[in-house]
Subunit: 337 residues, 2 copies
């Protein structure tokens, strides 16, 4: 744990100036002999450049941030899996921020942009407050937001048409002959919660089905509470014949409950989730789910950010990923073992 060698150490040993050392190490044109001396000195000393000094001078950290509510959620995981390699290949390190479903935490991360420890940020805010918008506008580094932001917000944006996603699912259930389609949602004051709530009502209306408040239950976006919410709904609505869940985790909780209540899926109750995470293929029965293209969104966000980091100076861009219904046994149910 001794103090490491610096370019000064190398310069002394190679008998040249620190400027030459720097030039050699950065591949600028240099006489062969100088280069040789510097390189061998560097190698012998086991020199590694100091990133703080480099960042200070160059004003780039070669790091990018990814901020999401909770690393435990498989949706975010699917995104990280796409994002990480993109930045790794481009020479950036990934700094992770799990904001614990806490808007203040998100603001902290945005404030952190000013510290310049990251050159750019991909964020998935759960809610977009006025404070968020102010910080987007004032940000001194490029930001890409996954999720919807108001028109004219000066950041690149990757979104999915979750309205359409909900509609796909509701139509699917309707086509299967289901008429009492319940909906288990997450908190209404989150971006996805609000969007899915509105979309559910719309979709019913488009199909000429009545909107029955009894058919809607709100919990959070996780499996245990999702299960409890589903249980409340099931108890309240005995003739329920389908259940749409605002994400896959909720759907898994619902499947647990339905199994416990000995309601057969999909014969008695068809179940559909959203996000089409890996979990959907693991569940039993395998879960019909609306893919919101998490992987694609992650990749798109990474590419937008990389583009900015490479100096692209263009108007903010909005990329929309189309939702896609993936049907499996929880609604189509050929074989339930």
């Amino acid at each position: 744990m001794t103090e490491g060698p610096t370019i000064t150490t190398i310069a002394r040993r190679a008998g040249v100036s620190i400027a030459s050392v720097s030039r050699v190490l950065n591949g600028l044109p240099t006489k062969a002999e100088t280069e040789r001396r510097v390189m061998s000195a560097a190698r012998e000393l086991g020199y590694v450049p100091n990133s703080a000094a480099r960042s200070l001078k160059s004003r780039r950290s070669n790091q990018v941030g990814f901020a999401m509510a909770d690393i435990g959620n498989p949706v975010y995981l699917a995104m990280i899996r796409e994002i990480q390699p993109v930045f790794k290949a481009a020479g950036y390190r990934l700094v992770l921020h799990s904001t614990n479903v806490d808007a203040a935490d998100e603001i902290d991360v945005l404030r952190g942009l000013g510290e310049r420890y990251i050159d750019g940020l991909i964020m998935i805010p759960l809610r977009v407050t006025d404070e968020h918008l102010e910080m987007f506008a004032a940000a001194r580094a490029p930001i890409v937001i996954i999720g919807s932001v108001p028109e004219g917000t000066p950041v690149d944006n990757v979104r999915t048409d979750s309205r359409k996603g909900v509609r796909l699912a509701v139509e699917h259930l309707h086509q299967l002959g289901r008429r009492r389609i319940g909906f288990v949602n997450g908190p209404l004051d989150t971006v996805p919660g609000a969007a899915r709530s509105a979309a559910y009502a719309e979709a019913l209306e488009a199909l000429g089905l009545p909107y029955d408040p009894d058919l809607v239950e709100v919990g959070d976006f996780y499996r245990p509470e999702g299960g409890r919410a589903a249980a409340r709904l099931i108890e309240r609505v005995p003739d329920l014949d389908a259940l749409l869940c605002a994400n896959d985790l909720i759907a898994l909780g619902a499947l647990d409950v339905l199994r416990r209540e000995r309601l057969r899926v999909p014969e008695q109750v068809a179940v559909a989730g959203m996000d089409d995470t890996d979990l959907a293929t693991l569940a039993w029965p395998p879960l019909t789910s609306v893919s919101l293209g998490s992987a694609e969104r992650g990749r798109a966000a990474a590419e937008l950010l990389l583009d900015r980091l490479n100096g692209a100076d263009r108007a903010p861009r909005v990329v929309t990923v189309e939702p896609r219904l993936v049907t499996r046994a929880s609604t189509m149910g050929e074989e339930t073992s």
Copy 2:
């Protein structure tokens, strides 16, 4: 995106020297009037300290690294979930490294320690080569290794007794009356692969069961290839009555295959996995799995590292987490609905 304010800007505006600004911002004793002027100037300018400059001077980055083979693996995810909050609470950011099951990549990460962009590192190497050991010894920042390292390696180490874990599973299957216990392993040149392979043989011997090479199949540690490996094994050994899988992902692949082959689990073939990830409770039937305490290992590693970062200068410590068998329907099978 204008250039941000620095302490110089603040100093000018407040009419004091940069030293005073720095002192105020760091809470060193200052006359009330000066403090007031500096604080309000800082607030008006929206000052945020530059982390590169701070790191350069203070020689700490307030970042720690976590390096694992692949973020997609739920075991690592369980660890991150424990590690992240520990460091967040202590004021450190988490830098993620996914090394793609590539030893050279791991070495790169270790070399990166010299860049001083992280103050410490938690790593889960898939194999520990001589080069790893050299770099551990030469490292200029504390390292915690999750997984086994040779005696005397100068790093903190968190391990689990996977030998014992395998034994627990084999004994369990044996107690259930199974005698043809197959084993689907990952690559033998990885730390876990090698350990589990040896442990399987040992466990059989302890129980007086013969070691039959036909009962062992090697693939990788993921679901698709795990499934294929399981398929090869099943085809080769018609009287198979139990299948131990080296991790849960492999077990999921095996379950897929068994379902396709219409072999009933656990009636015909009992299946057990290892790691006891979230997936085990999701699988159908729910998967008996040996918990290797991923969460505990993550937390222990984080705490060991934090201890070092807080200046603890002590001999390398080894923390061992006890494995624990978690039985579920894939071996005990009361109700397979």
